[in-house]
């Protein structure tokens, strides 16, 4: 069992060990949709939402697998559940709020292959978090993901008119900015350790 406080878990997941900038999880959407502020915010919100739901599912699933002694099915069941969750969330949003659905539209299916979601489920299991801890962990991870995405989008929009050298155009520039952001986030290291 893990006894970390909820606040420490939140700070750890969102700032100290930011999913994108320290664990490199969810890099694909990070590189792909960080070009524009608006899409970045929406993607971040969608990911956070799915993260919380799949975190709860993964918690329940893990308990189930342990009780029937079938822990070897962990990975395959997690991925199936995540894919199903994304589908359900998509259908649910479509029904409840067509406006939100149109806004999120193309991003929702993409989330299935976002390694941050599966990574979150695996990490929370490895760390032995309880239900409340898992949810806070998911929230922190989602907010951290959104933060990284939104900061990157702001910088990239600002650089739209810059005369960047040909050498670094494209992904290379995004990675360099991500590296600098990652450096800046190192300032949060040890937060709450004393």
């Amino acid at each position: 069992m893990n006894q970390e406080s909820l606040f420490a878990i939140f700070i750890n997941a969102s700032l100290i060990n930011n999913f994108v900038l320290a664990y490199f999880l969810g890099i694909c959407p990070f590189l792909g949709v960080s070009g524009k502020m608006e899409t970045a915010t929406k993607m971040g919100a969608a990911v956070t939402f799915v993260m919380i739901i799949s975190s709860v599912c993964a918690y329940g699933l893990h308990a189930l697998l342990v009780s029937i002694d079938a822990i070897y099915l962990q990975l395959i069941s997690y991925i199936v559940v995540i894919a199903a969750t994304v589908q359900l969330v998509e259908m649910f949003i479509k029904k409840m709020s067509p406006a939100l659905f149109r806004a999120l539209g193309i991003f929702l299916p993409l989330i299935t292959t976002n390694c941050a979601i599966l990574g979150l489920a695996l990490f929370q299991t490895n760390k032995g978090y309880g239900l409340a801890q898992s949810v806070v962990y998911a929230l922190g991870a989602g907010i951290g993901f959104t933060l990284a995405l939104v900061l990157m989008a702001g910088l990239r929009e600002k650089l739209n008119f810059a005369e960047t050298p040909n050498l670094v155009k494209g992904t290379a520039l995004t990675l360099l900015i991500a590296g600098i952001l990652s450096l800046a986030f190192m300032g949060f290291a040890g937060l709450g350790s004393n």
């Binding site: 069992m1 893990n2 970390e4 420490a8 750890n12 100290i16 060990n17 342990v66 070897y72 099915l73 395959i76 760390k127 032995g128 290291a189 040890g190 709450g192 350790s193 004393n194």
Partner: protein, 228 residues
């Protein structure tokens, strides 16, 4: 490219179900087979790694027994395969005399949670060994907690003696600045790795404060040989 089109025409719900079931059965079979095939080897490797760590923290140990700590503070001997339980490992010398109990502890470090295992000797009322199981501290700086000989020397005999009524530790283990260790319940820190060495001090302080009285109380229990 042409083949791809063929499948779509002849699909029906039945066929979809059939294929999915087929693939599902095949996958389950593969997973179970590989799990069964590797299980003995994995468990052996894990047991070896754990054994190695326990031997490091309980000097003079020859054999070990695993106990689970129950919520009321008592201990039950277990096979050691339990996952979600608080386990301690009692070590015995050649004659079967208890030489120490290995306990796992964890706490927040500079970069992430640090996991350690330490040995407690209820006879000496002291920590007698220490080993870092898991840490992501900065290489060359914070990771000195794993290697620095001066730092590790702290844990050869770290005082965690109990009060008269044996209900709590007399002094709480704490890390101090390098070179300023005055009492033998203090951990001499590492220059430049203040946070990491303090984290170790804190997590040992918390863990010993909780575990030392309980372990001491159950000293006689651990000493009872198997089958007696």
């Amino acid at each position: 490219m042409k083949e791809a089109g063929n499948t779509s025409g002849q699909t029906s719900g039945q066929k979809m179900l059939l294929t999915m079931t087929g693939i599902g059965v095949f996958c389950a079979l593969m997973i179970v087979l590989s799990y069964q095939g590797t299980l003995p080897r994995i468990e052996q490797l894990k047991a070896e790694a754990l054994e190695k760590a326990i031997f490091k923290v309980v000097p003079g140990m020859e054999s070990k027994r695993t106990f689970r700590m129950e919520s009321d503070g008592s201990f039950t001997e277990v096979s050691g395969k339990e996952k979600d339980a608080r386990l301690v490992y009692a070590g015995y010398d050649k004659e079967g005399k208890l030489v120490g109990v290995a306990v796992e502890a964890a706490g927040m470090g500079f970069a992430d949670v640090i996991k350690v295992i330490y040995g407690y000797d209820p006879e000496k009322e002291a920590v007698v060994g220490f080993y870092v199981l898991e840490s992501k501290e900065t290489p060359g700086l914070g990771d000195k907690i794993e290697k620095d000989p001066n730092f590790l020397a702290n844990f050869e005999a770290l005082d965690v003696s109990l009060t008269e009524d044996k209900s709590k530790t007399k002094n709480t283990v704490v890390a101090v600045k390098h070179g300023e260790k005055k009492n033998n319940w203090e951990v001499d820190g590492i220059t430049g790795a203040t946070i990491s060495s303090r984290a170790i001090g804190n997590l040992l302080g918390t863990s010993t404060a909780e575990m030392a009285p309980v372990l001491h109380k159950n000293k006689a229990f651990f000493e009872v040989k198997k089958g007696q």
